[in-house]
Symmetry: C2
Subunit: 658 residues, 2 copies
């Protein structure tokens, strides 16, 4: 039975939840397929996450391997293929809790970087799991800056081999997933040396464990890097190489080749590689970043409709915490952000599909823009969503802090997304570099990519809003965001030029501007997110109340951004103090409006109880019952040896006679 | 041997580290005592935290109990007493990783709330550990709002007993520390009923487990609430009471008594109770909040001096990440905040000692101010420090995410401080209520407590700064903070009055202002923190470079606050756009100045390697060596059954023949 406090929230929905779900999925057929996958996965006991919060790192790893192996069978049984429409829902349905994800990266890197001959040899072996692959790039002392990697691969013309070494402890490969305990092979990125000359970073296939008994191969030292904040199911590993010899054919050679005599030949373009890195950043947004935020919103908002605390009106019963303005102000902007970034993700996916088409036609013109957008949005979205999950966790008070709420595991997982696939600050600076370049070009009258044409049109006007309702006009707020993005970019470009003209060296000048460059890059992404949300709402059907509620969320997303960052808009007087008070008033009004639909808006994300795995967030809102049931299953409710060893002697005073 | 990259940072310290340590400790004698305690604890293998990051919740609990029992012996052996000068350093030296903390709260509550007779009976039993106590207040459905607690204690005049019940699942006691597995007794807070009439919340001593065999007493259901984000060493528990009868003498009766015939008598003042709650909030700031931030700063800053990444100048070696402006902008404001809040803590301690003296003299005038300050600063400091630890964690990239860095455990522990001892938003609203009240009083010409007299002096001037150096003047920035605090309080007071005058009911009007009330409360605390830091610096000796570096940190703390919240200062034009650019310039300049002393500034916190328990933060900066050594000890580097069960059959293709 559904908790009446939650049931009442659903009776007054202003829109059709099922229609919104279909919109998020991209159509009713997609919804049907997704639900079928979820149903098949969740009804299979091997994929159960029931006791996950009680498991040790070793148990998590073992379960993940078991699931990965079982998944092969399941896919065969269900007729799912890697190219089928079901495929993209499998990982989400498993909540990522499965091994061998790096095996897939291993395969992708061979497909992209390997010669036809290499692909023909390795891909079938990998597909049939006659080996387990990993991807060894990051080193103990080297991450984002790939040129700094220290692992070496020296060509030995006499034997037609490469000799691989990690010459220093900082060169040790560190973090690669699936490598700590599972992988038999890995792609090692190393500095290529031929006849004493360094040719930079290249990828090499290296066997690290025996296919017979899994023992480490000669010259290999490898193991697991130990406990992390999450990802206990993944065996992130370390790898030391000592004079490991591999045949010449193991260098992935689609783009570069070493001839038998040691001649180095570069072939084709490397640009497509960067495009691959770029697409990875985009592809992680949906499953790794948006899904956790949507889950956290679902848990925290359902809980806030059920939890009662203090009295809002004297004489009445304690109020739902969702009725407090401060609680609305914590949760509803996160909900709006989840929708905003969902639509940004659609926008980026479409842009990347278009970009991929162009690249197929050998047109690389879109690459800089795609790189800038993928870097900037990866950083902004991961940062925003991580903060959002943390807010949801804290908004649930003590119960949010219990693992059984599901929130701690969402938080400790999503925070990793701020670090992997490019550290966020470095990525934002890449975006900023693009912005500065385009700003200069635009001001010199040169053409710039579509997403930054606005930089050319620096307007010095003022915001025309006359009352608080004007701030519910997308034109008004989108232009305000645009104005701020232009201002921050142009003022930082000016500072940069001033410094250089005053004699500061270029790299020093850049470093002295980086804090402000990061702000400019964020403002650019924020502007595009707001604009895209507004445009998406504009195009929606007006039926079933969907457009109306999405418009409210779009307004909230935009006004929350202004309210949380008033200085950026007030700075040059584009928005006046009086107008800012209107923003605040409209923003606070919106909270009360959206609060009415808060539960239906998270219901539309359509998470099952099993996928939420939360004692606070279940569809029926039976929070306390579930917390109690789950806690009773905890291993900490078994007898502890601490009683016999320490407590009993203490209480019986045999120990305390000091 | 010390990593040369770290050693070089220490050679150029602008001040005497040992002198700064003494300043933080409150004198060289205190430093000596603290170090002696740390040495005694850390040299004792029972207190070792060496394998902590590899332990399960059960193992953590067992170790904490073992340490707690051993600590009794150790104190005896060392001649440490609860009233001795060493006592306050013990918990810090143990890094809190010890059981029976609630036993102390049990004792304190009896001492404060119990009659002389009760104290005479229970305190010796507790002191001698003939029982283990806990403190059962929070319920599954009830936290901050104590009046809402549902547990009942019904007086039975026939037997002269109370009958205790948790009538609904939401009434179950939930979270009390030491109760899940250890405690034999607890203080239960319950609604007192006599002859059908409710007299509100009262405390009762209830035995929950047998002193002989630790089995649960009749009518008691109790256990552990399971896994949490941290605090695995504590057995937070649940407790169901079903017709549990306790003798009348077990109601703690210093302030209220039930006569044999059921007559209820209230005695003395309850105000002292609130004072106790207030002091708890202050007392947790030092060990639970500041120490974790100081540790996180130590780890992240030492690591940033050792980690090299990318090139700052072409042709040179990769740069220390501490040399990047963006990295400085992440870490150095956290360092400044650690110092700022250390001095706030001193200020609050002194204020509370004074308050306690007044209360002893039956003068309760200071209570409202003390309550407002303790609530506000508890919220502001826990929030700020939690965010600071998270920034430190993320600033260390992938290695920060490894438990071996020590940062995840600091984060998952400190975040709890935002929730316990009063949820932060609720606490800030308590402070805001005080501010509004005082603002009204001050404007009506009535006297107000010292910390809020500034509210009476609303000035409508402008910031007089003429250039960026002016913003290094404490008068300039302290006044700016004061101006903002007054503006936010007065504008919210005005909004509140407007709403009420326009017919909105008082409680609704209050709720509609809470987002802004929270801002006002934060601004008030921030102003006091800045003012206090500036006044502290003013009073410091000018010798040994201490005052100079503290002045820089004070400036950084103040300017960071303005830079991160520009809108609040720009809103009414108190600081103009041109002045804000000066703030930014001065702020960024300061980063480069303080960066030079960053390592000595964290060295002054004087944490031993054992207390940091971090592979990234050790004094010698041998980061990579230590990560590798520690990882090798991880239980995940033992053979997993997953190989024989799943990997071998897969690789040998017995499974993959689908």
């Amino acid at each position: 039975s559904v908790n009446p406090d939650l049931a009442s929230e659903r009776q007054t929905a202003s829109f059709c939840v099922e229609k919104l779900t279909a919109l998020l999925d991209g159509g009713t057929e997609q919804t049907r397929i997704r639900r079928a996958v979820v149903e098949a996965i969740e009804s299979d006991p091997v994929f159960s996450r029931e006791n996950q919060y009680f498991q040790t790192q070793n148990e998590r790893y073992e379960a993940a391997v078991k699931k990965a192996v079982h998944l092969q069978k399941k896919m065969h049984e269900m007729g799912w293929t890697e190219n089928g429409p079901e495929y993209k829902y499998i990982y989400r349905a498993l909540s990522g809790d499965v091994a061998f994800l790096l095996h897939r990266v291993f395969m992708r890197s061979i497909s992209v970087l390997g010669s036809d001959k290499q692909i023909a040899k390795w891909i079938p072996l990998a597909t049939q799991h006659k080996l387990i692959g990993s991807y060894a790039q990051t080193e103990l002392g080297h991450g984002t800056y790939l040129q700094g990697l220290e692992t070496t691969a020296v060509f030995d013309a006499a034997t037609q081999e490469f000799i691989l070494n990690t010459p220093k402890i900082s060169a040790m490969k560190w973090w690669p997933g699936d490598m700590g305990r599972s992988a038999t092979h890995t792609v090692v990125f190393a500095q290529l040396y031929i006849h004493g000359k360094c040719y930079g970073i290249h990828p090499f296939i290296v066997q690290i464990r025996s296919l017979q008994d899994h023992s480490l191969c000669p010259g290999i030292t490898a193991g697991d890097i130990g406990p992390k904040m999450n990802f206990e199911h993944i065996d992130n590993g370390y790898l030391l190489l000592k004079n490991v010899r591999i045949p010449k054919e193991n260098m992935l050679s689609k783009f570069c080749e070493v001839r038998p005599d040691g001649t180095y030949v570069r072939q084709g373009s490397q640009q497509i590689n960067y495009f691959t890195m770029t697409t990875v950043r985009i592809s992680l947004i949906s499953d790794e970043v948006l899904t956790p935020l949507m889950k956290a919103c679902t848990i925290a908002i359902r809980y806030s409709a059920v939890r009662r605390q203090s009295k809002l009106k004297p004489g009445e019963q304690e109020a739902k915490i969702l009725d407090y303005q401060t609680q609305q102000e914590k949760l509803l902007p996160q909900l709006a952000a989840a929708y905003a970034f969902h639509f940004v993700n659609d926008y980026l996916q479409e842009l990347f599909n278009r970009g991929y088409g162009e690249i197929q036609r050998k047109n690389f013109d879109m690459l800089p823009e795609l790189h800038a957008l993928s870097s900037g949005f990866k950083a902004v979205i991961t940062q925003h969503c991580t903060a959002g999950v943390e807010i949801c966790l804290r908004a649930c008070g003590g119960h949010g802090y219990s693992l059984l709420s599901g929130l701690p595991s969402l938080y400790t997982k999503i925070i990793a997304s701020c670090i992997y696939e490019g550290e966020n600050t470095i990525l934002l600076l890449q975006t900023a570099r693009f912005l500065i370049k385009c700003f200069m070009a635009a001001n010199a009258g040169q053409p710039v990519p579509p997403s930054v044409t606005y930089l050319a049109a620096v307007k010095h006007g003022k915001c025309p809003a006359k009352n608080k309702l004007d701030f519910l006009s997308p034109d008004i707020y989108t232009e305000a965001y645009q104005h701020v993005a232009v201002r921050l970019t142009s003022s930082t470009a000016a500072k940069l030029q001033d410094l250089i003209q005053s004699g500061v060296k270029k790299h020093d000048a850049w470093n002295q501007c980086t804090v402000q460059l990061v702000q400019a890059a964020k403002a650019h992404c924020h502007y595009i997110a707001v604009k895209n949300f507004a445009e998406t709402v504009e195009k929606l059907e007006t039926k079933a109340g969907i457009q109306k509620i999405m418009k409210h969320l779009c307004d909230l997303f935009a006004l929350h951004g202004i309210f949380s960052n008033t200085g950026a808009f007030l700075h040059d007087g584009y928005i006046s103090a009086a107008q800012m008070d209107m923003v605040t008033a409209s923003y606070l009004d919106l909270l009360a409006v959206i609060r009415k639909d808060a539960v239906p808006l998270v219901d539309a994300f359509d998470f099952t109880d099993k996928s939420l795995n939360s004692a606070l967030g279940s569809y029926d809102g039976q929070v306390y019952q579930r917390l109690y049931e789950w806690a009773q299953k905890s291993p900490t409710n078994q007898m502890s040896p601490a009683y016999e060893r320490y407590l009993k002697p203490l209480l019986h005073n045999t120990l305390s006679k000091l």
